[in-house]
Amino acid sequence: MSSNKEIGFDILENSDLDSVEEIGTDNMNIDKNARDRMLKITMDKYSAASGKQMNSQKVPETMEYAEQVSGTEMIQHRRLSRIIGFAACSAAAVALIAGGMFLYKHNASPENTVSDPAGEVIVTTAAESTATEPESEGIDVNANYIFMNPYTDRTDITQEELDAACMRYLDSLSKDRSEIWDIGYSFNDINHDDIPELFVRYSANGGGGEKMFVYDGKEYKSAHFNSSVSEHETVENNIGGDVINICPEKNLIYVSTEDIFTGHNFSKILWLDKRNTAATAFELNDSGYYIGGVRDYKLSDPNDTEARDKFEASYYLYNWQDLEYTPYDEAGENTKKTETTKPEDDNKSNGALITDSLFIAENPDTDRTDITQEELDAARKRVKEDWYNTDELEDNDMEYAYADVNGDGIPELFIKEYTLSHGYVQSMLVYTGEEYRGAYYYIDFKGSKHNDIDGAYFGQIGGNIDVYGNIMICPEKNLIHLNEGGDDLGTILKFEKGNIMKTLYKYSYDVCYEGGVEVSHSVETADRFQAALDSCNWQELEYTPFD
């Protein structure tokens, strides 16, 4: 038993100020929400202690703003997220919370104002409000920001009919778009016409999203709205994005998408009337923040957060719900389709090993043909001399093995070292013609890709990481089985001549890939991975202690 004293990271607690600074005051993760919460707490405490009335005191603790905001409340400090909920709102917006109505307005001209082009009364629930604004005020939505979606006035529609229409759409989606999976559906009657709207959730390569559909009496059709490109230009878009929230009590839909490259957030709050007409009430995009189609704030500097803050304020005015989806595959409705339309999956389930991949890492290589074993041994010894933690290891803690995995006649070097945290861990190295260098494989960073339901692809971001973990090889198929421990369930790499490393399978709790394509965790994908493993004769490497 060791006579050493035990030490842990808790020893760093209760330090003096110098030590706290040495630990690093910037190392903490304080997000905007936490910062805003703490600022509010500060101001509330300060106001209470100083007797100086700060506006933050008026902010309710709950998010039920609609019941607590009055039209006369003056908010001065919009940097607080909750406070900006009011500061960002124009008088018209406040009136909206007060229970006003959306008015469709042609060219913002009073004489052209109509209460509803579809002939329906468009009024939010005034009874829920305690505010004092007159009910006749509301958001004027410019006619350019109103989209008439298909609808039906049939009254004999049954849920069975809607279920069948939903399945027809999902079947066709799954059949025509094999790169879309993990599909779920949800019925919600946003506009209270007794015909629920359909929401579909899906995963695609590295991304996914949610999309809304309306029933036209025969089928569910993609729902659309008019979106701002600039102050005077609109474009028709489908109601879909990374996230959809709903607020049925106010007939509202929130849709948000983030451009991973520019960081711009594209969000909108749409109002849906009984005839499936969508009015764009609030919108945030890369040109600014819009209320009813009128630009309330122009975005000129990419770092300017005011437009986003204003939109966020509008968002927090409502009581949003996440959608609850029923998994399409678990609904038992598409078993036949799966059997008949996914032969590729069946092949995989039968244990066919994927042999190619979109994920490729080009490791250093040499075309020399005069390499001798003596040269490799000398290079191997230099590896040990330069090993990053040789000083901390006993000689017998480090062993090596040669194996020619890619069949190019130049053996790869494998190092096994003893680690205090994980026991024995192995590394793979390739010969460059001069020395052995750490081998790596390519993996993409989950969440950095986006592929929407309509197939728009925004590229991918990824990187190379070391072949480091528990390693087994299958030289006859040029394969490496790597397990990195922790969240990793296993990686199968194909190592080809020219030191080309292909990531055939990657299974971890974070992310799963087959042939460089992201797949969901499921019994089927797990079976395929196991079948791929079972199709190879894996060998343990035989290690030799260093001289």
Binding site: N4, I11, N14, N27, M28, M38, H422, F445
Partner: protein, 191 residues
Amino acid sequence: MTNNEYRSMYNEDPYAAQTALFDEYLNFVCAIVYNKLRSCGSREDMEECVGDVFSAVFLHFDSKGSFSGDLKALIGTIASRTAVQKYRSIIRHSNTVYIADETGEIADDERLEEKTDRSIMQGTMLRLIKSLGEPDSDIILQKYYYNMNSNEIADKHSMSPATVRMRCSRALKKLKALLMAEGYDMKEGSI
């Protein structure tokens, strides 16, 4: 931000001045509060305590009309004292006995020897972590002291979570070896 800068800003717009000061010193105050309450406080406790600190700082200015001396040192002192008070308040209302209460600076002076030992161990731990070099030292602190997950750390360092895990694993192994060489065993429960 200096005392004069704050005062002139405060004269124009008190709230803007307070918010600017809050933003400039938020990380500093949070780090101090976290350091005291890490083992016993909830997130809500810590946020409450940060609110107490800044509120006290603002009130201090109101009562004096200026900040005397070094502003950062003043805020650090207020933060430290407020966090200790919060710590005492938490453990008074808790049935759990915290080790730090027995051994830390909050404990009474009779435990001088333990305090000295602890101070030496703190210094050793920090020195060895720093010897890992950047970014490994930051990653280790973020992972095991600040309890951040790999995704959060990855965001801060523009790395993939897998790379963070790998670096973390290697750095931890190295740290254990360094500690062993200094006569310490890493407590398993603290990893």
